[in-house]
């Protein structure tokens, strides 16, 4: 197999693998930009994966079948919104410690998805899922065609979400409010911005995106559901937000780096490596750390109010 071919495979698979992480991490970015650190991303992804899987699983034939996937995505996002709002109630209204609440949400999401699946469906079950969609014309481009233009529709959506997120954050009034609330909530409050409302909104959006990330896993990537399908990807998504330094561009870079490394290590194994495969499996994780350690540029500190519950009357 030629090197070019290998490169093309690694790139197209890397892009394909990156989307769940990308969506969830972009959502988490909104949470954190608004000052809330949601470690429960994993739980939301579990619920998203499960609920997205439900309609296509239940409606396999009949006139409604073509809509089942769409209904799945909608359900996943709706569940994400609800869980995001639940997290908001706990961390914004009750101002509970965000880290621990996040772990609680992770357990809850995983648990509910797993319990319902186990008792009503059971086993490990596939669905037809969403097929790749070739962009006419563009998909025939050499190298770039298969890498970028012969992918799942959600892949395009996720990559369009990157500039969209940037625009939302930096060019819209809502983005302005989010950034203000995450950096200096008191200042925002003193100008009549409701910190609570903005955080609720950001958590709802973040939840929707995490839910969609989970839906990508079950409907587009694995095309199946099983208990613990998400298997820690939510935590990696959270870590990628730090890697990407709270910028959509950094996050897409991190998601791609991680997923390309994953695709690369799998290709390496498939190509027949001469060292224990465990070290290949470690590669993406180690690479992310190493890149950050080497980058070491100006320490962009996160949103200043990240992790700090806000209350008007509480002394700063």
């Amino acid at each position: 197999m030629s090197l070019a071919h290998l490169l093309q495979d690694v790139l197209s698979l890397g892009v394909f693998f990156s989307v769940a992480l990308l969506l969830a991490a972009l959502g988490e970015m909104f949470n954190q930009r608004a000052g809330v650190f949601n470690l429960g991303c994993e739980g939301i992804m579990c619920m998203g994966a499960f609920l997205a899987f439900l309609p296509p699983y239940l409606v396999r034939t009949g006139p409604l079948a073509p809509w089942a996937n769409l209904a799945g995505f909608a359900l996943a996002m709706a569940a994400g919104v609800l869980l995001g709002l639940l997290f908001a109630v706990v961390t914004v209204t009750f101002r509970a410690s965000q880290g621990i609440a996040g772990i609680g949400l992770q357990m809850l999401g995983w648990g509910v998805a797993g319990t319902l699946f186990r008792s009503h469906i059971g086993g490990v079950t596939g669905v037809e899922g969403v097929a790749a969609w070739r962009v006419p014309g563009l998909s025939r481009l050499p190298l770039l065609g298969p890498v970028l233009f012969n992918q799942n529709p959600l892949v395009y959506a996720a990559f369009l979400a990157v500039p969209a997120s940037w625009y939302l954050l930096h060019r819209t009034p809502w983005g302005l409010r989010v950034r203000a609330v995450g950096t200096h909530p008191r200042a925002a409050d003193s100008m009549g911005i409701s910190v609570v409302r903005v955080r609720y909104q950001a958590l709802a959006l973040g939840g929707a995106m995490a839910g969609l990330g989970g839906a990508y896993l079950s409907l587009c990537q694995a095309k199946m559901f099983a208990d613990d399908l998400v298997a820690g990807r939510g935590f990696i998504a959270v870590a990628l937000v730090y890697f990407g330094r709270w910028s959509p561009w950094g996050i897409v870079g991190g998601a791609l780096l991680f997923s390309l490394a994953q695709a690369f290590q799998l290709s390496l194994q498939v190509g027949g490596i001469k060292f224990p495969y465990e070290f290949a499996v470690m590669l993406p994780y180690a690479l992310v750390i190493v890149v950050l350690a080497l980058a070491r540029r100006s320490r962009v500190v996160g949103p200043a109010a990240l992790g700090k519950p806000y209350d008007r009357e509480l002394r700063v």
Binding site: V90, F94, A96, S97, G109, S119, E278, E313
Partner: protein
């Protein structure tokens, strides 16, 4: 006012308990199981006999140890999510030492194994500490990633260099080590149960951590660096070093938890040894208010939850994942309630609300009573 405070606390706790139980019941109803029966088993099942009760403590031991380390690191301004990996490394090191020096007498071997577990965990945690302190790599990122790396290292060693030769010879090939020599086992405290001397170690260390954090210069330094890194630096404390030391402690405790688990319960390094103690330990630490005196009961409570929820599978036919649901809702309810309880502002606001709703009782008695003409 004290009466109001009591009422307030009671109301908050009651509401939280109701919310948690209600949410859990919702899911139980969705799968057609009786919430009452399930809850009854969880809360009372493990306490029916000595074995169940000791099992709670068996779970509590690693939880206490991990949580103590987490408490040190959180208090020192570093968020250690990597206990899971540190624990695994600790298992490996303790096993390796026990297997390498089987001839050593027990009083030498056992401490050596424990120390090896702690040291290797510290080393693993130290990586994240160095990355954070001197290279500015966020510790959440590095510890999450290091967990995955540790998991792979674990299987690599157990599948390769550390595998039980019998496994190879017989062809079973299961990635696990040889059984440790008996001289490296922690004593069982109660015959017929799995409760082991690790409990005493954990309790003793809880006291030590309290001493360390609030009674020593080192603890003072770490807490200062965590609570106000800038002021600490201005006062001549080397904050980077403190971060590293804190991570060494955190990793050390998690590594020790691994060592204790393998020396006390499993007696050989096997797959799935951690049972998610690394994450549960974070929860326990925060539950316990990052204070040893809170961590110990919190760990026991979580032990009860784990053992009890596990029993519901067998006695009520509830799927295993229900454990997660219950843990999740309980965590969410309790953290919310804890904030509400500790938050003097919320309490004031509630008091105000009560006064507004029931003006006769809240605001006026002082004024109304003397002026009240006797009927």
């Amino acid at each position: 006012m004290p009466r109001f405070r009591l009422l307030y606390a009671g109301a908050v706790v009651l509401l939280a308990a109701l919310a948690a139980a209600g949410a859990g019941a919702l899911v139980l109803a969705a799968i057609g199981k009786s919430p009452w029966a399930t809850y009854a088993v969880i809360l009372t099942g493990p306490l029916q006999d000595l074995f169940g009760a000791t099992e709670i403590l068996v779970r509590a031991v690693p939880l206490i140890l991990v949580a103590l380390g987490i408490a040190i690191s959180f208090r020192s301004g570093i968020l250690n999510i990597g206990a899971e990996g540190q624990l695994m490394v600790g298992v490996l090191a303790a096993t390796a030492v026990a297997l390498a020096l089987p001839g050593l007498p027990r009083p030498a071997l056992l401490p050596l194994c424990l120390a090896a577990g702690a040291a290797s965990g510290a080393l693993w945690g130290g990586i994240a500490g160095v990355l954070r302190a001197w290279l500015g790599v966020n510790e959440i990122l590095s510890t999450v990633m290091l967990n995955y790396i540790a998991a792979q290292l674990y299987t690599f060693l157990l599948r390769g260099p550390m595998i039980d030769p019998d496994e190879l010879m017989t062809g079973s090939g299961t990635p696990q080590s040889v059984r440790l020599p008996r001289s490296a086992w922690l004593d069982r405290l109660v015959p017929g149960t799995r409760l082991h001397a690790g409990l005493l170690l954990a309790l003793a260390l809880a006291a030590c951590v309290w001493l360390l954090l609030w009674r020593t210069t080192l603890g003072y330094r770490m807490r200062a660096a965590g609570a106000g890194s800038k002021a600490a630096r201005y006062a001549g404390i080397r904050v980077e070093r403190s971060l590293l030391v804190a991570m060494l402690f955190a990793g050390g405790f998690a590594g020790l938890a691994g060592a204790v688990e393998v020396l006390g319960v499993h007696h050989r390094a096997i797959e799935g040894i951690s049972s998610g103690y690394g994450f549960a330990g974070i929860v326990v630490a925060l539950f316990g208010g990052l204070h040893p005196a809170g961590i110990v009961p919190a760990a026991v409570f979580f032990g009860l939850l784990l053992v009890g929820a596990d029993m519901t599978q067998r006695s009520a036919g509830v799927p295993a994942n229900m454990i997660l649901v219950l843990q999740g809702v309980i965590i969410l309810a309790i953290v919310s309630a804890r904030m509400a309880l500790r938050d003097a502002y919320a309490q004031e606001r509630a008091a105000r609300l009560v006064r507004r709703l029931f003006p006769a009782r809240g605001a006026t008695p002082a004024r109304a009573a003397p002026g009240d003409p006797a009927p």
